[in-house]
Symmetry: C2
Subunit: 554 residues, 2 copies
């Protein structure tokens, strides 16, 4: 984006901090090590021996003899060591750009947001467009979408375009709508909705789902160096949070090229399991099938990300019954069942893994139907993924087990969304909402993530939410639908070994055991013992990937 | 293409023959070795010691002591060893697909072509479209373009689309035109021409330059596995001809992904210097600049290929004066001077190398003007490339030296085209035609290639043409404009060290000398001694890349 012209120099400075680290045979001693397999079985150890390649060679107990000689010895000083955390659903580039553009995710009211936008525009007089995101009318207590006029009040002279926190809507000012040629005559595009001023046809300023594409050709596109900087920023943030691997959900060819540059030039430090944005990007990136694991298992195109519906917040999620707070509206499917099956077939035929975004109960039922039908044709180890699986009819839950489906879910969505979800669904339709425990009990495979930048990529907050169904404020007392809370072991597994399995990476990373890469995090407390509040306060001291220290808090 | 559905199995079989070769310290002894630097200085040796990485460690004379121990010793049995040949201008995918589709390049008459097309269609009843290329109405002695009706006579029931040998025109039958919705009302697109039936508006069946794009959306696109097979086929052919490196002129992102798959999966055996097809592909492939050398110097995106004009054969080349055989027609520039400069600037700003296709004297003058202007801004080692540089006004030639320009030329174009060129230009405008010697004498940097699949990728035929200005038939006696012939040493350099320099690869490959990759060809005669006819008959015995034997005639 022209808005980020000054990034290139920032990138050069950042790249300098990413110089290669020498590798050698290393003993990490005096630690309190924990690893957990997909069944929740915990292994504890007090030292880890890493070979020169960066793989775990041996886990040692207190009484085990240490190797006589190693190139390096690290005294863990009693730190807790857990496997590198795997975020099974995020958006690398979105996360990076969120840090490089206007971020409204911490604003508590429309007025506060307007003031922040005004100040940001004043600080960046050279940017032709002001872009950013993170707003949420629900957390502002607004009870409606904001308007173009309210954005004009902050910035009247330049186009402003701000993505909603869930990525499913944008808020534009008048200059942005004018630049895109949007008027009262502009029709809703298929799969999208233009909010209109009450009682009229004039666009109100918010554009939902596919209607956001009306701005695609007018917003300045990021340059490759901007993308590289965004990737570096996202990686830096994730490593500082102990996240050593992530599933990038919706990779475009431009994003993929950035990932490859990072790999080619030696600054890809974390692992990315990529899911292409639609089947065309899938075929362009992967060709005849998933790519091999590249750069010592740091990058692979696993499959494709498809969108079946929108989000609950913007009432784009596709429900079986109308929204409790919007009679007559059931949300929108973004494609027909036949289109969904065609795309899933096209991917499955070439052994690409399929991950379908599905939030509402109607969407989840449709994907489950499609998987049931396709499972007859595409046999073998498919690991169909449903992304979010937020609202599932209780009667549909058993099918997660029957078809061995990966439920790629985000615990902090539950704690952030619960009040909104109650409003959207009413009290009687919540039985299958964020139903981690029921899905796991039915035999579904949990893989947890953050959906960053929608939520912060904080797995410790996720574990705390997963085991308690309470938010950072400890509310509600006893947890929201606490029967869906899971054990500490299951939560940690869903962020480590479960996430690896969901991405066909078991045996490579996800557990600390001989033969897997030594991806681990040193933290100051035991996530299997601490209280939810204490888990949230976990401090990451060091992060290691493939036997190399890639982050240190010191 | 759906036409090539059966390729996947063929590819699996081919891939099996491409299993990795073990590397070790190797002595190649009992050879008659030759290497030549860019100034034409020749080094001769009788043994070559290659290190375990595959680089030349030492060249040895007859009297030099051999190393005491090497992992492998190869008895060259007196074979001549020359550096791996570099083809500085070809089309990898076009070359591969030419072998997988209908090839008319050996047809001598329209009737023969029609028979070949008919037989091919009968052999492939399952192909929805018959596609191919290689036709040339000049070598058929037709004196005009062929027509749709003449193609209908061969295949009336299915669309047929055949590219002219130069890639600058296509010949379609009625079914193909109907599929593309082309009628008498279809206007000539910008930069292109639809041939019309004499005295009318109805399309005649041949579409020149940008008009070929009218078929882009209707011809079935090749699948990724088809592209991979085409790449493997092209590589196999090139290695059998002793070509170990090539400049791919006009790489699309899909082609690049194929190159990367070959590298990622370990079957990229030759070296590809890539020039992206236009600035958008350049930015998508390279990002902020040229890629690093990848896969041990096997692949790099060097820069961009731009097209300023068409070809002489189809009268698309842009001339200062009208064609001698088409009064009033001067051919077409494919973009304005401002557009050319903008694209060159966009590339040069990010240090991409610029290669401009330029055939006619007007086109060459325009590119030289643009280089002169841009050289003030973009200083340093730019190595501006002019591709083909076929017809250059004598007054313009000095500028090749002044700006250190690479003249990327194809010796066999001269011998194939001379009669056509005389017809197009008339006898008085040939002074700067295929003027290798004059351009080199002025200080331009020669890099020779084949333009395959336009011509066969046969560097020995190129060397013979370069030193003799005669064709395979030895005609014309004494050579065509023989003052432009160059020495054997200069010709071999233009296919080796000169080609490397033209692609920023000097020091990596192009010469046999310590530190460079051991890329070499064992042949049965000495190209610096043999007659032109004998050089054409050279037999390639073995081809080695990076110290690995990648082709053997046995």
């Amino acid at each position: 984006m022209t808005i980020v012209r000054s990034f290139a120099t920032a990138f050069a400075a950042l790249a300098a901090t990413l110089a290669p680290v020498a590798q050698a045979d290393t003993l990490i001693d005096n630690i309190q090590g924990i690893s957990v397999d997909r069944e929740g079985k915990v292994t504890r150890f007090t030292a880890m021996w890493i070979d020169d390649d960066g793989r775990v060679k041996q886990l040692l107990d207190r009484k085990d003899k240490r190797p006589k000689q190693t190139d390096f010895a690290v005294d863990g000083k009693g730190a807790y060591v857990i496997p590198g955390l795997i975020d099974s659903h995020l958006h690398m580039m979105g996360l990076g750009f969120a840090q490089l553009t206007l971020d409204l995710s911490d604003t508590q009211s429309l007025a506060e947001a307007q003031e922040k936008i005004r100040a940001y525009a004043a600080r960046h007089p050279d940017r032709r467009w002001i872009v950013g995101g993170g707003w949420n009318q629900v957390s502002w207590g607004l009870g409606r979408f904001p308007t173009a006029a309210e954005l004009d009040a902050a910035v009247p002279d330049r186009p402003v375009l701000l993505e909603r926190v869930d990525g499913h809507a944008v808020w534009a000012n008048s200059a942005a709508m004018a630049a895109a040629g949007i008027t009262a005559k502009t029709a809703n595009p298929a799969g999208g909705r233009i909010e209109r001023i009450a009682g009229g046809k004039a666009p109100a300023g918010v554009f939902v789902d596919r209607a956001t594409a009306l701005f695609d050709t007018v917003v300045p596109a990021p340059r490759p160096e901007d993308r590289d900087l965004a990737l570096a920023k996202a990686q830096e943030l994730l490593l500082s949070k102990g996240v050593t691997a992530a599933a990038d959900m919706g990779t475009k060819i431009e994003d993929w090229q950035s990932f490859r540059r990072a790999g080619d030039l030696g600054w890809l430090r974390m692992r990315i399991m990529s899911y292409a944005s639609g089947t065309d990007a899938m075929a362009l990136i992967g060709g005849p099938g998933p790519t091999p694991w590249l750069y010592k298992d740091k990058l692979r195109l696993n499959g494709v990300k498809l969108f079946l519906d929108g989000a609950l917040g913007s009432r784009g999620a596709w429900l079986k019954q109308p929204y409790a707070d919007d009679a007559g509206n059931t949300g929108l499917p973004l494609m027909t069942g036949a289109q969904l099956r065609n795309m899933m077939s096209r991917a499955a035929l070439d052994k690409f893994q399929v991950a379908v975004h599905s939030i509402g109960d109607a969407a989840n039922a449709e994907v489950l139907d499609a998987i049931a039908e396709l499972s007859d044709t595409y046999k073998g180890d498919r690991r169909w993924r449903i992304e979010h699986a937020q609202i599932v009819s209780p009667a549909d839950i058993a099918r997660f087990g029957k078809y061995g489906i990966v439920a790629s879910m985000q615990p902090t969505h539950q704690t952030s969304d619960r009040i909104m979800a109650e409003a959207r669904l009413g009290p009687d339709r919540l039985a299958g909402a964020y139903a981690w425990r029921s899905i796991a009990a039915a035999g579904g495979h949990l893989a947890f993530g953050s959906d960053a930048p929608v939520e912060a990529p904080d797995a410790f907050a996720g574990i705390a939410a997963a085991i308690s169904r309470t938010g950072p404020d400890g509310q509600p007392f006893g947890g929201w639908m606490p029967q869906e809370a899971i054990t500490r072991e299951a939560a940690l597994a869903a962020y480590t070994s479960g996430g690896a399995w969901a991405g066909f990476a078991e045996g490579r990373f996800g557990e600390l055991k001989p033969g897997e890469w030594a991806d681990f995090v040193m933290v100051d407390r035991d996530p299997l013992m601490a209280s939810p509040a204490d888990i949230r306060a976990t401090r990451v001291q060091e992060t290691w990937v493939g036997g190399e220290r890639v982050y240190s808090a010191k």
